[in-house]
Symmetry: C2
Subunit: 724 residues, 2 copies
């Protein structure tokens, strides 16, 4: 890619960004769009705009984002989002501090040498852009100028250690503060108990759990909830809810038609067959009402069966004290580790019920199998894609699908197909990948939703770094190597050295595209806006349907964070080789911080709260990226035939020690709740009844039954009546 095409690409991206931003400024102030641009505020019962005036400055969001405090973010979007901003600002800090030193120091050093010219004369088949003159590739081999690059390599590492240490401390305090909060949070009073042993004759599961925990925690034990297999009841409940929505929809249509036309109105109808397309035509309202009655009875019966007969080998146990719950979750209860496994209970909303009853060793086996599957997916990812790409070339298509021939002959279509067909498989696969990884992580048997997301995010990170970063760099090198390797096997290293700065321009464009277009789309929310308006006009009839149409979802950690990490990895690895990449990295994270701050405050609604448990993953991966950078630099200095390259060897060792020390010092407080944190005073006496109820899944919440009756069923209360 030459310099002018790079500038063109940059310019185009920038224009798209400006357009999207102006669009946002204009559209977001219109009242009808408030639910798309301020859903988080609306759901929290706040005015869309602060002050409430309609004639507000279209760029006020920038000021608001900049002036918002961490506390604002926590109150609007939770600890997890605040931790994500700590990550963004730490990375931003690393890049800014690196840039301040690297740009003024390295650019003049590189620009005044003339390694590129010399190379060009000797090896004419390798092309160099003007940008390369500003990179390390312009330094002659063995030149003493390389000392400047060695020193800056150290500088970047030291900055990273310093800022990530500070960030870890800060996040640890954030987590502690959140867990100390005087407000009652159900998950702080509960533990999850798995791998219950067989019950003895004449004892119910509930009695078993109750007597076990009563004997250990006589004073703070409240009660227990045996986990049931809810698959069947969930299905019936889902159907019932579907019919309820349909009934509301039909009633809304009927009411509308009454208003509009004849006073009687037209009663909506539907067909009972497949997808409502065939079958008998019936009156919708009557049909749905009938179905609802039928299903309600079925649900009640199934609820009873579930509570009585589908009890599993796990339970939730509730305590009246936070300290007991925190300490119980950390203690070994049974002499055999694979019995009575006690862990922290996740929030009710993120409990993965179907995973709760998986046995101890089955969980471990599942985990390893998944690891192997993910490893294979990452390493051999390119093979099926390449295979599909090869199959879907035009020539092959014509051969195997001859009926396409007339279409393919059209010039315009052919051009488009030729350009995009090979990438099509890749794009589809990449789009499905996060879902696939989430599915895999869930299959591991993890009991909490946020943990599933963390696990998937980790897998996605390895995938992107391996396939995008290493794939592009090494791939490009391998490709050009195969051609010349026959002539001179020693040229491999020369080529690698040349390919690194060569790919730099590619990655520069990639980063620029990512932040201008990506964040432009993020801020303007064009796609959700269009979808919302379409749904509102043609589909939605009830309030609930409307809300569903604009409900924004959460920030989407699982894919967003690995994307950021890819950018960080690229920028770090090229920071010393081609320092011009640093300003782009700074722009990416600065823009990201600004725009996501707006989105976190006003748009996205968090789906769970894990009190910053994501942070250790983030920190480890930042250090991982640093290690990759240090290894790259070691290799690159070797390629430059710099005699003092071994002076860089302490760096990776330092990084490993740093990671080890951080893990030792901070990690345990993230996997458990420290007791001194849990023992803070509460604002009010916890309503244990309410805490208990919050864990009952909606499909088991009976509407008709009296509460007490219901409890009785849920508790399977004891044939003997000795435990209540």
């Amino acid at each position: 890619m030459d310099f002018s095409s790079f500038l063109t690409s940059l310019g185009t991206s920038f224009i798209i960004f400006i357009v999207l931003m102006l669009l946002f400024a204009w559209i977001s102030t219109r009242q009808g769009n408030a639910v798309v641009y301020y859903p988080n505020r609306i759901l929290k019962g706040l005015e869309p705009w602060e002050g409430g005036s309609r004639t507000r400055n279209p760029f006020a969001w920038i000021r608001e984002a900049l002036s918002s405090s961490e506390q604002n973010v926590i109150s609007m979007s939770g600890i997890d989002t605040a931790v994500y901003f700590v990550f963004l600002s730490t990375v931003l800090g690393i890049l800014v501090l690196s840039g301040i030193v690297l740009l003024p120091a390295l650019l003049p050093v590189a620009a005044t040498d003339d390694g590129v010219k010399k190379h060009s004369k000797t090896a004419s088949n390798v092309t160099f852009s003007d940008l390369d003159k500003l990179s390390m590739a312009n330094i002659e081999e063995k030149s003493p100028r390389l000392w400047a690059f060695v020193i800056t390599t150290y500088w970047v590492s030291v900055v990273t250690y310093f800022l990530s240490w500070k960030a870890y401390k800060h996040v640890s305090a954030l987590r502690a503060n959140a867990l100390m909060s005087p407000e009652v949070k159900p998950e702080q009073f509960a533990v999850l108990v798995r791998d219950l042993p067989d019950v003895t004759q004449g004892q119910t599961r509930k009695e078993q759990v109750d007597s076990y925990f009563k004997s250990l925690y006589a004073e703070t034990f409240y009660r227990s909830m045996v986990v049931t297999n809810n698959k069947e009841v969930d299905k019936i409940w889902g159907e019932l809810e579907g019919y309820k929505k349909k009934l509301a929809h039909a009633e809304a249509i009927y009411a509308e038609s009454q208003k509009k036309g004849s006073s009687a109105g037209t009663r909506p109808t539907n067909k009972t067959g497949f997808l409502g397309l065939c079958g008998k035509k019936v009156d919708s309202i009557e049909y749905y009402t009938e179905k609802i009655n039928e299903l309600t009875q079925k649900l009640e019966a199934e609820q009873k069966v579930t509570l009585r007969e589908k009890q599993q080998r796990s339970a939730l146990v509730f305590f009246t004290s936070r300290v007991t719950a925190a300490s119980a979750a950390q203690s070994l209860h049974a002499q055999m580790v694979d019995r009575w496994t006690v862990t922290e209970a996740p929030e009710p909303r993120q409990l993965v019920w179907s995973n709760l009853s998986i046995k101890f060793f089955e969980r471990i086996i599942r985990q390893y199998i998944i690891y192997i599957v993910v490893f294979l997916t990452i390493v051999f990812f390119m093979i099926p894609i390449g295979f599909i790409s090869a199959l879907t070339t035009l020539a092959n298509l014509k051969k195997y699908l001859p009926f396409l021939k007339p279409i393919v002959k059209l010039d315009a279509i052919r051009t488009v197909l030729e350009a995009y067909l090979p990438q099509l498989a890749l794009i589809i696969f990449l789009a499905l990948l996060p879902k696939f990884l989430l599915f895999l992580s869930k299959t591991e048997g993890i009991p909490s939703g946020s943990h599933v997301v963390r696990a998937a995010s980790g897998k996605y990170f390895y995938f992107t770094v391996f396939n995008v970063f290493i794939g592009v760099t090494v791939g490009a090198t391998l490709f050009s190597t195969f051609k010349s390797i026959e002539k001179d096997p020693n040229s491999i290293f020369d080529l690698l050295a040349k390919s690194l700065p060569g790919s730099a321009t590619f990655f520069l464009t990639f980063v620029a595209l990512k932040f201008f277009v990506g964040y432009g789309l993020e801020l303007s929310r064009i796609v959700p806006l269009i979808i919302y308006h379409l749904k509102r006009k043609y589909l939605c009839k009830t309030e609930a349907e409307l809300k569903e149409a604009w409900f924004p979802g959460d920030l989407g950690y699982a894919t967003r964070f690995p994307g950021d990490m890819l950018i960080l990895t690229i920028v770090l690895c090229y920071s010393v080789i081609a320092p011009v990449i640093i300003p782009f990295g700074v722009l990416y994270f600065a823009l990201g911080w600004l725009i996501l701050r707006n989105q976190a405050l006003k748009v996205y609604v968090p789906a769970y709260e894990s009190y910053g448990k994501m942070w250790p993953h983030m920190h480890t991966r930042v250090i991982g990226a640093l290690l990759l950078y240090q290894a790259t630099m070691l290799g690159y200095f070797g390629v430059m035939k710099f005699y003092y390259t071994p002076i860089l060897i302490p760096l990776p060792i330092l990084s490993l020690i740093f990671a080890y020390v951080c893990r030792q010092k901070f990690y345990k407080a993230f996997s458990h709740t420290a007791l001194e944190v849990a023992c803070q005073e509460l604002k009010e006496t916890p309503q244990m009844e309410q805490i208990f109820k919050s864990y009952i899944p909606p499909s088991l919440c009976s509407e008709k039954q009296e509460d007490e009756q219901f409890e009785d069923a849920l508790s399977q209360a004891s044939r003997t009546g000795s435990f209540v």
Copy 2:
């Protein structure tokens, strides 16, 4: 070594063993020796012999050892000793079950082939003994007979998995039962708290600890004991105790002389200078009494200073409930892991006071430094030894120490020196090694004595396996290889294959020597007997001194277990290659079991009780020996050019999975106390006062001061008086 010399060596060892055993049968029945042969029974207040009759069968000890139950061992010598017997009987079981299959299956297969003859014809410089005809070396290369060896390789592994799994389960139950015991054990009510943060202004250390634990465990917190730096006070106390002993000794002498001679008697005297050899002559009784008075005052002053001013950053905290103590030891208390580290308290008698105040990261750093030192010691162990051996050859001695010449010229002395001088350095070093490793382990900063022993034992195991087993095998091969390697580099593997069975004979002799002579000496206790009688006759005057002279010490895990493991490793590795080694292994462990059973029941007095925490180490090392065996077999089958060698590859993988599963299932219950175990009812209400006092080190136990006064000082009880 040829066959006849092997038989000679075996015969000699056997005769020594028989002589020692007869000696034991004769000597041990004499009343005066009871304290040497039955000290454990005497100290427990039991009759030396069951039934008490003097005319007992001299071989009754065999019947008694065989009929003793595990419960007897536990009550006489504790869980740790019982666990050691589980190890012995498990290994015995593995070898017996292996032998039952391997001996009848492999010996005929090997004996009827004639690989040795063929080899002898082609390579005449390698010598083979008759024993080799019974080993795998007698099988021709690529022979289908090797299948028998493959199958038995699997058999040995499966037997090991099965028995060690059963043993782990059994030991886990032993440990649980011991911890469940209704008797009050101080260490179950205490935790050790390290890494206390700085105290705030105006707060004492004691207040800090008390308020912290009171807020967490309001109902079960009893009180705390701040750890002090006892170096000075220990020193004074040691001196004082020394003088007290000397005074008692002098008084006994005086009393004796009064009885014997003139009614006034001669008052003993001593010199005050270096070692009592020079200086002023004084009356001993007066001098010691004076010294004692002086030191008692000094001790009291020092005790006060220690309790008040030498408080360290750690404390012992006592709870009134075993469950709380067990759960506190497993829970994270502070948000930062390197503050308020809470662990199980060791028994009072095995608390390593000087290590208690080492900081979190210092402990980790010390540990890694020690690991590096041990690694270097193990790997480069032969270098200084070889160097010293070379220096101490006769020729060199004559050269550097010319004054020795006349002695060296004597024929008899020269022969002895020539035979033993090179080994002398080795013997001295090997004798000092366990002490050195114990010292290193203590330096790691481990707070409990039993843990120090475990750590030292692990290091010693690696040392013996690496230097004795691998050293001898590979060393011998290397030596013979260097000679022929110049002619044909491909002969290296042939030589290795031949050297393995060659070393087998060496190891056979080694094992035989070890059990016949080693266990003979162990049983007959010749050395302690002689020392005791010498001391009794010439040195001891008081009862206390006599008791000190016969006090037997403990079983000496730290060196005994690695010795056993070395034998097991050798026998396992050669089990398939030369199955004749198995009966020797069986004899070793059977004799060991029998003789140590006697010693455990009657002689040794355990120095600590760790409730079987040694077992996971033992188990891991047994699996480690199995892995070494499997790797050896893989290599050896390769050398035999057996096409189906890869059929053995699943074995090491299986072993790793087995080790992983065992660790997952059992290990946590060994590093912590399971709560269901700790929650068993106690026989009586714990006397908290007594539990607390048992942790006060003897040097801080004041005799004169009133208890309450004393407590006050120890507790530094609170200027404000708010905590008592």
